[in-house]
Symmetry: C2
Subunit: 507 residues, 2 copies
């Protein structure tokens, strides 16, 4: 079946915008977290000159940062929403050096904040008080990539995009892709169990990561590296480090299974009349595109409008209540295009798809992806003060909160919109006000958390808890689970020096 | 590209053999484990009449089994290799009943052995001494299967084949398939992190299982159920229960993500001249079949010969040093067949494939699968006394042990062969002697474990440790990892009443 000719059209151009590795719009440096939020400093030791001297002996003075300007970049997060007050950043060059640092800190009761690319969105990667920042950015060696087995072994501090490039050279892809790929570290991705754009195809990092090496609170190096998908010799301890955000150990090295690079990519951008049509189209994509479906994203018209307004984006199709971006990747381009066009034609016949473009041309694929990525960027960085959420929700209720929040927050809020990884049940909800106010805050929180809890959703699908969301843990987890989390934390880090004030509720 | 006509031929018939849900050949009941192996009973309480009365009150006398004949089936494992001496089997009908049982046992210091379908191969699912057997077979309700999300929620005791049938009715498949599917329980599969035939396509259960509900040693019900692929709210505790073989808690319910049922299956059975050709063919399959490859099995001629000898199997092609069975499943049969034939043609052109058949016809697919399944069955159950192993090995050294063991064990061993899940680096090595002898044992063990350790492999890829293999843990795991496993066990089950003498080394 051939693509309907009306669907084949040039994709509009959007010039001069960098969607990968972008920086947020310049914002003011926030006030200290310790001043803005009511947090009590725990009774850790404070770093002394003698400690700094010892660190200089251990890893070399060049890698012990006390310069205030450089410190600032490690104390403030990507969103400029939190600011720690650390006096020293350490940059170990090896697992052995990292181990020695932790051994010393454990003995001296010094708290630490492990830091990867510092691209997290929940305040997890910067200190809250004066925790020592341990930056992994010197531990950036790719040890091996095996074309036959697909296994890549890399240090924690390897930038995701660099790992992807190396994997590509071996005919492989990293089973993880996200907007921050030019800055984020693979170790940080694993520590936070990052999701992103390929989960629908390659699953979560709990499936892809074969092994990790971690440095524990007391400096012990725990080698759980593995070159195998299957290894049933004892407890599967590596999972304790995937998604625990550096609070149980610092991942220093890892092995990840990289699938063969697809030979063909295709992308469709379609307009739909209703959320029900979105759901039906998703179901149809799962059935008809099955094994080649590699992304299934949705956004509403208000999300796309943000990119049009703030970045001058010219979308490839006209105005519709909903949009979907679907990507396929496979080993035979002709087969994939045939499946894709058949799928889109079917959607148009049923009336679920009103208009759309399908392309296999790389430059056009990039243009289409900008619709999705610039929408997110515009909302987060240029649309006044936005409350941004990252929920997992039952598919049938996936979009329910957006009209509810509109009803609740407009007209004070000028934009309430939803977009996200539909194929993973992962909605990003944004509520944008001209500026922050207590009234705005009270309209939004804790209402959204209570609503998610009522729908039995998760209030942090892929971003983690970090500093900001730990207090909401009870909305997604019951007392028994929280109690066991605390027991595990106490077992692994009895002094609580690893990334304190994060993940687990303070009270 | 069309399939070469020489490849298209009828597949030979093998009549009257049931490959699914088969039973091992009648073997004598083994002597008590406590007599055969040098294990000391730990200081648990022994079950009293008063305990039995209490259990009868809790779950009803009908479900408290003390009849010696029925007890025997729960005391002896599938392979008839170990025999416990339990005096009572409990069959709770709900999580609440299971919780009450555990609360009681914890208070009274009574040890328990959770039991699913009792199809394990490492002596993990039967008692070693007089542990109370807790059979999950009454907890067999499928709570829901959601066609839209693909999520199936089931009690632990649901038989895998029943779950598969229900999933099929909803247009889905369970992402797990193995020989014991007619008997094994999905809860047992998850507890042991079962592998099987679909791992290459759908990954491990750590990726597929979305949530579990477990009953802890003290009777606490830990609800970690989830309906989401992505949920980054706190530690990912569910993984502690996947593959810990009932030693950290008893899984009572679970949610598993079921992919859409493929619309087309194809299978190829090919003959190859060397193991190097096997490897090249595997690489080629990954590249050319990519997203539709759903099984990639290999066996050597001695493995196939066992099925010919003991089951009268007529293989579909002639004699070759190596055989591979490849399966594809996808959403478009024509596309899949085109890819498959192109792949096989390419293999024949390069000389890596010498002969083969490709079929999409269900009855012929079943016949071909018998070649693989009957080989395993013949070796394990009908070929004298066989030492059978389940290794993960680096792909390049995948087959290295087979000629080494031949050299070492023949002529005392009449068969040394290898087969397994090549696509998962999972070799099943078998060394068969006319009967068990100390001389045979000494030829094989601990040599094989040392060899696997030297190759940095895993000595238990998918079968687990159970009772038999816990003593070898140090061959695959270092001291730090074993130490943390013990700490975790002590945290979760301080009295050690959950499946004692299993997984962790006794000394």
């Amino acid at each position: 079946m051939l693509l309907k000719s009306s669907l084949i059209r040039a994709v509009s151009q959007t010039k001069g915008v960098i969607t990968r590795g972008y920086k947020a719009k310049a914002k003011k440096i926030p006030e200290f977290t310790q001043d803005r939020y009511q947090v009590s400093r725990k009774s850790f030791a404070a770093v002394t000159d003698s400690d700094v001297s010892q660190f200089e002996k251990t890893i070399g003075s060049k890698y012990v940062v006390t310069d205030s300007e450089e410190l600032l970049t490690h104390n403030v997060d990507f969103l400029k929403a939190v600011r720690g007050n650390s006096k020293v950043v350490l940059k170990p060059g090896s697992t052995e050096e990292l181990s020695q640092i932790m051994k010393y800190c454990y003995e001296k009761n010094l708290a630490v904040c492990p830091q990867g690319g510092n691209t997290g969105l929940v305040g997890g990667s910067v200190p809250v008080f004066d925790e020592i920042v341990i930056s992994l950015n010197r531990m950036n060696k790719i040890h091996s990539i095996d074309e036959m087995t697909g296994i890549a072994v890399a240090d924690s501090g390897v930038i995701l995009e660099n790992l992807e490039k190396s994997a590509n050279e071996h005919g492989l892809v990293v089973p993880l892709d996200l907007g921050a790929k030019a800055s984020c570290h693979i170790g940080g991705n694993v520590s936070t169990n990052a999701g992103g754009l390929r989960v629908i195809r390659y699953g979560s990092l709990h499936g892809s990561v074969l092994g990790v090496e971690s440095v524990l609170a007391n400096g012990t190096v725990l080698d759980l590296m593995s070159n195998f998908k299957k290894d049933n010799t004892g407890y599967h301890l590596k999972h304790m480090f995937i998604g625990s955000e550096g609070t149980l150990g610092i991942i220093s090295k890892l092995a990840i299974l990289c699938p063969p690079a697809p030979r063909a990519f295709h992308v469709a951008f379609v307009g739909l009349p209703s959320f029900d049509a979105v759901l039906q189209t998703y179901l149809s994509a799962k059935r008809q595109l099955g094994e080649i479906l590699s992304s299934c994203e949705m956004m509403d018209k208000d999300a796309l409008a943000a990119a049009i307004q703030h970045f001058g984006l010219k979308p490839p199709i006209g105005d519709f209540p909903f949009y979907m971006l679907l990507e396929t990747s496979g080993s035979n381009g002709d087969h994939d295009m045939e499946k894709f066009t058949s799928f889109v034609d079917h959607g148009m016949e049923t009336g679920n798809i009103l208009d759309g473009v399908v392309t296999g041309e790389p430059s056009k694929i990039n243009e289409i992806w900008k619709c999705r990525e610039l929408s997110a960027m515009a909302i987060v960085s240029r649309d006044g003060f936005s409350f941004n959420y990252d929920f997992s929700l039952p598919l049938r209720q996936f979009y329910e909160m957006v009209p509810v929040m509109k009803e609740r927050c407009q007209p004070l809020a000028h934009r309430v919109c939803g977009f996200g990884h539909l194929g993973d049940c992962n909605l990003h909800l944004s509520v944008c006000f001209p500026e922050y106010s207590q009234e705005a805050y009270d309209l939004v929180e804790p209402f959204v958390y209570e609503y998610v809890s009522k729908l039995k959703g998760s209030f942090s699908s892929e971003h983690g808890l970090g500093f900001f969301k730990s207090k909401y843990l009870h909305y997604s987890k019951n007392n028994e689970a929280i109690s066991l989390m605390k027991d595990v934390k106490n077992l692994m880090d009895p002094k609580g020096i690893l990334n304190p004030y994060k993940v687990l509720p303070l009270k």
